[in-house]
Structure formats: structure tokens, C-alpha cells
Amino acid sequence: MTDRYDAIVIGAGHNGLVCAALLAKGGKKVLVLEANEQVGGAAVTREFADGYSVSACAHLLYQLQPKVRKELGLSPKLASDAMQTIALSQDGEHVRYAGADVRGVGGADVTSYRRFHTQMSRFADLLNTYLNTTPPRLGTSEFKDLATLARLGFDLRRLGREDMRTFLRLIGINIHDEVTERFESPLLRGAVSFDAVLGTHLGPRSPNTIMTYLYRLAASHGRLAVPQGGMGTIAEELAQAARTAGVTIRTTMPVKRIVVENGRVAGVETATGERFHSATVVSNADPKRTIMELVGTRHVETGFTRRISHIRMRGNAAKLHLALDGLPAISGLAKAEFGERLVIAPDEHYVERAFNPAKYGESSAEPVIEMTLPSFRDPSLAPTGKHVLSCVVQYAPYALEGGWTDAAKEAFTKTCIETIVRYAPGLESRITASELLTPADIEREFHITGGHWHHGELALDQFMFVRPVCGAAQYRMPLDGLYLCGAGAHPGGGVSGAAGRNAARRILREQAA
């Protein structure tokens, strides 16, 4: 049969592409099926207004894993690299930080931040090792699992007594306490708190937010970059690498279901009824979508279904795209600094207050906002002299009370613009077009349940051994031939490629055995 593959990957998100490319390099005949016209999933660049393009979802590259980069020979062209974060102040007295350096704060904070960053980076390195490994199973007598656990114990001890004690204390703690204990500058406190809660359903006071902060530092210690041409070019480059390795990628091929025969995976069927056969199906879709919709609960067991249905994955992050007919004016910001990452999170309480309504299905009255002007360094994204403002806005809960109607979207867009205008007076008159992608829109466009960028909350109870659910953390689902390679699996979201890589390695090893 011509349409038989060694493996079929559902979804050409960045993890799907990484996984497919590595499987092909491992000698497998691989097919990737993508529902949308473009590859990349949520890592995609697209036009939102005439002549204006933007990375539709993720817009900053935090942590593309060096190992992925190396194994696939990637060398993404970056429009900006090692960007600064500028925590905006209405009076123009901004705080700027990158790496271990912070400016615009008192001397004590400079030292404190350096110490904080150094310590956090050390812990992030430890974490990063395990982001690039399949989590061990616990309570088994398998040598491999025990060896990984022993290494984890050893690595912890190698931190040294003091650091180990600190680590054990920090892992479950909240960012609020850390920033208030360490820093005096409200802006610095606010921005660091925001870094910790970005993309989560947590506020700075929620325990676990040190963990989410560490997660952000993993791979590159928080070094930020914007790819030339937007996130879509990363996806294109990955797709190219995959094709070179022999992968067939077919777009506009939404998969309707995963075909199960005699209790195991036999292939996939597309929305148009086309069937592709393979004994191995790797899903880059989120775990809920994979199990509840593509496989169907009848083919898995009740306990597993229940766990899948309990995965918390209701997004809170919206994307706001503004087409501007010129650069906005922000007091105290040098022109060259429009290429940096701008943050509206004036203090830790502000961030917490922004979070409160999200618990009750309401959007923030004063949202926290992360802004970039990708067109500033990359003119290809907007007509000459014009600009694109790309904002990640929190909190815009997926399950908004009353739903994300046009009126609700309009009102929230207005709230966001008003918030930005406080820092960039006159911005409103420069807006020629706008687009708001709420989690509901992200769900619809990118087929991610709940519009959650990470395919599931990043919290300790959904992390590592228990991601996506208990007993299925090793990429293999309890249905023979089915694997997960997306952000819903360990280690989670962000354009890192770690999940795709770990999954590919797991599959190759299992099938070699």
C-alpha cells in the first residue's frame, strides 16, 4: 500500500516538525499532516491587516533547545537577540534588565538582582537537564528509571548543601515573596512577577510561580530573541530540515480521527475521508484533543479518560495586534529601545489584581501586557514607515462569563489600548487596524483546547512525572502505537522543541528494542 508510513505526525507545530525530522533522521518514513495552510501551529507569522504581519501567537523566542538546534542544523536568523526587558513607568523612569544586569534601580537592587539571577540560573540549569530527558517512571524496578532518579538525587546534592536547601524551599514557593524580599523597586518586582506568571492561570502570590519562573529561564537563562520574519520562519526552517531528512509534509489536511483497529493504532483519517496507514501515530495536538476527539474515549480506559478530562488547560493569555502608522511616543524611551521587550506590570500587586478577575471568568480591568515592535528591526513585517505592535495580554480567561462575543472582544481591546496609552500617549491616533486573539480564538485557529499556549497549565501537579497525566508521562499513551509529542507532554510549552525531541528519541528507542 502506497500510503503506509512508519510514523504519522498529526500537526506541523514546531514540536511536531522536530519530532518528525528526528524520526526521519532515525530512518523512519514519516508523514506530517497539518490542518492549516501554513506549518508551524502556534509558531506562525501571518498577515492580520493589509501589509501588516505578525507572529500570531508566541512572539518571542526564549528557549529553542540548543540540542534541537544542533541536531537539526538550525541557524535561525534573528532580528533581535539578547533583548532587554524594559519595565515601563508612566513617568518615564523605566527599569531595564537583561541577563544578570538591571538598570534604573538602586544599588541594592542591582546586587540583589544579580544574585537572584545567578542563583535562579543555576537552578534553571538543573531543571533544563531534565527538560531534555524523558521523565522516569516512579516505583518501578526498571534500571533506566532508577538510574535517572539516582542522577536527579545526585544532581540535587551536587548543588551543595546551601543551594540544595534553597532549591527545596524555592520549588514550591511563590514569586511574590521572593521579589518583595529581594527588591525594592516596584517596577522590577512587577516585571519579574509577570515573567513568572506569563501564560499561566496563576498570580504572583500563587505558590509554584518560582517554578514557572525557572522554566522560563531554562535553556538560555531568559535570553530573548525575535526571529527575522517572525516566528513563522522558525517553523519554515524546521519544516525545511524535516523535508531534507525525508519527511513528507502535507498542509490543509485536518485529521478527523486516529484509526484504531483491534485495540491499536492503525493510521489516521482526514476530514475529507482520506486514510493514511501507520502503526505509529504521533500527535502534536494537545492531549485532550488527541484523546477526546481524535482517538475517542471508547478506545482508552475510564481512569485515563478521567485524568485527561481533568487536565487544566484554560488559557488566559490573549494576543493583541495593532497596526500603527508610525512609531508611538513613550516618555523616557530612546528610539533604539523600541526593539526591546516592553512590559506593563508596574508592581507585583498590579499583577495580582490583574489575575483576580480571571478566577471568576472575568477579564482584567487593568491587564498586564508584554509588547514588542517586531517591525522595528524587521521592516518586512509592515509597510515602510509603519509598525506592528504585538502584545501578549493577560488575563483574558478562556471561559469568559458570557463568552467572547464581539462586544466583549471590543471592550477588552479598548481596555488594553487604554492601558497602553497611559504609557504611550497618543498611541490611539496611530492605530489603523487591530486584532485581538482571545484564548477562544486561539483554540479555533490553532486547534488548542482552551487556547492554552502550553497545552496545559504549567504547575507542579501537571509537571514532569505527571505531565500530561499520571502514568503517561513517557510520551507513549495507553493505546498501542499512539504517542504524544506536543507541549502537553513533558516538558511543556514554549518554542523549545524539547517535547518533540524527547518523544522522537523515545519512539526510536522503543522501536529499536
Partner: protein, 538 residues
Amino acid sequence: MKTYDAVVVGAGHNGLTTAAFLAKAGLDVVCVEKNDYIGGAAVSRKLHEDWIYSNCSYVCSLLRPEIFRALELHRHGLQVTPFGGSLTFMENGDYYGSYHDPEVAYRERARFSRRDADAYERYRSDTMRQCRIIRDFLLSTPPDPTSFRPKDLLGLMQIGRKFLEVGEDRIYETIRFWTMSVAEYLDEYFETDVIKAAMSGSGIIGTALGIHSPGTAYVLLHHYMGDVDGNVGSWGFARGGMGAVSGAIAGAFQSYGGELRTEAGVDKIIVRNGNARGVGLENGDEILANIVVSAMDVKRTFLNCMDRSDVDEDFYTRVENFKIRGSSGKLNIALDGLPTFPALPEGNSLHISDMHFIDSMERMERAYDDWKAGTWSKDPYIDMVIPTTVDPTMAPPGKHFMSCFIQYCPHKLEGRDWTDPEREAFARTVIDQIANYSPDFKKLILHYEVRTPADIEEQIGITEGNIFHGELTMDQLLFNRPVPGYAQYRAPVAGLYMCGSSTHPGGGVMAAPGANAAREILADLKRPNTVPENFGDD
């Protein structure tokens, strides 16, 4: 001048427990207390005529039976009576009751959701499984994971074994349980808002966390691991009020020859050449002793009663960073009679129960938002009990004593001290919420006492008035409590020990920290151990 074998600072139930076990081992022990009464937060106080107020802690279920038995507390007047079910009044006029009888409890849950009624079985066994893991460690010293001493390695292995023996699938459940929020934990079992709201209270009592804060599922356990006569999770009243608990332990202490001194507030712990040598009292007297045991919380011990130079800098900073937050208040009320609650049918057994007046998860969480904003909850979670319904000794015949525990109430209001009108307004908030469900309640009030965390701090001495002497979050539990590396009751000063609720296993009238500390001290002194092992639970 006399040198005692040991001086224990603070005659709360933990201080007294340590003192009692040391005295039982033959040591010459003095226990000093700043107030003119003993008990710390386990007290019975006559604050209005013949009414006895358990004006701080108000139920007795965590008290370890091993300790009860080893100190023969019944001989010193302690008697614990189990208390029935619990009740949540709903805004729509309905109520949700948690009945003592399992079948009636089932029917009641089924009235809201049959699914929830059945799900309770799985909830119960899953939760009690977690409880069983922790209960065995209550009466033991946590091992130090950074140490290579055989004792610590053995301890770690024991924890590891306990953790692993439940089987692969359940290990993952345990990891999740320890890290998730009580709201999410309950969501995995139940669908009915009021049932979840009623159960979630145990996840936040005494903490500065909301029901949606990760880590609160564990706090749930902290309220489930108690038992009265083997009925795990059930609550009881000490006959005569909570002072009966400290009174009985003090009685045991004195029967072993111990000496109690009240109105002897400690100003300084005396450290000479790196050794704790005794205490300096506020009146200028000194009491010398070979060892000093502090039952005060760690902040008060090290930040208020010692010099910074007495302990190493790193430890000092960690104590400064120790989280101990006032989040709960109390309102103690003398009543002219029993208030009626018309929503509840006459004769229903839940008239004698633990009552609550907040019926949704959203209201629970919004109560926390107020605290975060620096004020008391305008729609608070109240845990209301009337001990006189089962204890005839606490009020004149026909009269009653009501204890309201209120979550949340901050130590300071938006950063400044409480004023009297604000304390009054706080009391009104509570009284009004109860009066919504009890029309005759207000006119039955003869006297009430308001206790904000600031009052608790002022009167009992606990920093910020935190009832647990420190938050019960992962970073401050087990070998992290109070400070990583110092969880074995020894302070980083020779001869100085900690025995209060800031140490493992934490707060509640459990007496386990006091007992564990005594065991460590006796081991250091090479004295025979008088502290019991836990009963063990097969």
C-alpha cells in the same frame, strides 16, 4: 544561683509537652510564661461572668493520642468529647449538611448530586491514603536530606519507602496531591459548588492562601489527620474548654516535679561563648539553665529574643524570610440562649454542628482577595461552633458560648495598625453574616471578644498572630520547617532547642512538635527516652 537542667520558654501546649517529657525523664525543668495564665493559644478564659471562652484554639482533634496516653492526661482532667457533623447555610435558603451517619450523609449529598454522593467514597479513600502517609511521620523528627549521617539517610529511606510502597500509579497521585490546590483537588471528585465550598474550608484555615492556591490540598490533610478515638478526621471538644488541654499537660509536668512560672516574660535568651545558658526575664531576673527550649515561634525566638550576632547570618536571614502571616481572626461570644436557624428543620441533628455561612467556591476565593488587598473579608469564611451544646461546664445552665473562627483577617490593615472602630466593623461583618441565617442571634449576644491577628500577637506572642506559627506550605513543611537544615529541633546555638509549632509537623493543638523536640533533647543529653513512638497504623 540555681542552674536548671532546662528552661522552657512559653507555657503553650507544646512548651508544656516538652517540659513534661523532660521532667518525666528526671530533669530539673522550669517552664516560664509571660502571661499570668498558662496555655498560650490553648486556653479557657473567664472573660464574661461565668462564661468560659476557648478564646483561641477551639477544637481538639489533632492532639496525638500517644501523647495523651504517655502523659496520662485523663488523670490531670482532660476529657475529649467528639462533636457531630457540619453545616453550610446557602444564600438561597437551603443548606448543605455533612451528617455524622454515613448513609444520611450520602442521602444529603445525593440531594445535590448523586454522582457526588458516590464520588465521596473515592475521595475519602484517596485522601485518607495521603493522610496515612503523613500520619506516621507526625511523631518523628524529619531527616535532613542534605546530610549523610546514617540516621538521616535511614529516615529518608523510610520516607521514600512509605512513598513508593503505595505503587506506581498512586505515587503520581501523591505528587499531585502535595502540589495542587484544594479547589482543583475537589474539582476532580465533585461537581456541586456548595459541597466543594463546604469541604474546601479545611484547605485554607489558618493559611494566607486561597482555595485556588497550589499547595492547599495538603492543608486539607492537616485538618483530616486528627482523630478522636480512632475516628480519623472527626473533631472533639475538650471538656471545660481548650485550657483543659494545657492544664492537663501542666498537671503532668508538675506531677513529674516540674516548675511553672507565670508572669515571667522572656526578654533575652542568654548566649555565652556560643552556648545557650538561660534566659533573661523582662523584670530583669535571670534564670540559668544548661539548655534552653523555646516554644515561641522562630521569628520571636531569634529576631526578638536574641542578638543577630548570636546565630549565623544565613540562618538569621532564613528566619527573617520565614513566612508567618496573620490570616485568621476570632470572635468569641457569650449568648443568652441558643440561637435558632430557621433554614434547618426543627430537631435536625445538625443543630449541634460546626456551621458555615459561605456556599460557593467563588465566595471562598473572593474572601481571600480581600486579604490580599490588605483588609478583612467582607464576606468571610466562618467556622462557628457552640461548644456548650455538648459541654455543660462552659456557661451557666441554658446559656451558651459561641466560638467563631474567621478567615480571612490580616495582621495589619493595608500596612497600618487596626483601630478600635475597625475591629468593631470586623466584628459586625461576622455577626451580620451569622444573623442573616439566625434572626434572634443578635439579641442573644451578651458579650463578645474580637481577636484580630494583631490581638493574638499582642496577647499570646505569636508573630503576626498566625495560628500555626508559620505557613503550612511545601517550602515550610517537613525538613524545611522552620528552616531547611534546622528541622531537627536544634537551633544553630549549642544548648538551644525549638519546640513550638514553627517546627515539624506544625500547628494545631497536636503537641507533636513538643514531643519530638523532647525526644531529640533527651537523645543529646543521653537520657532515657520518655517520648512515645506513634501507635502505627497497619
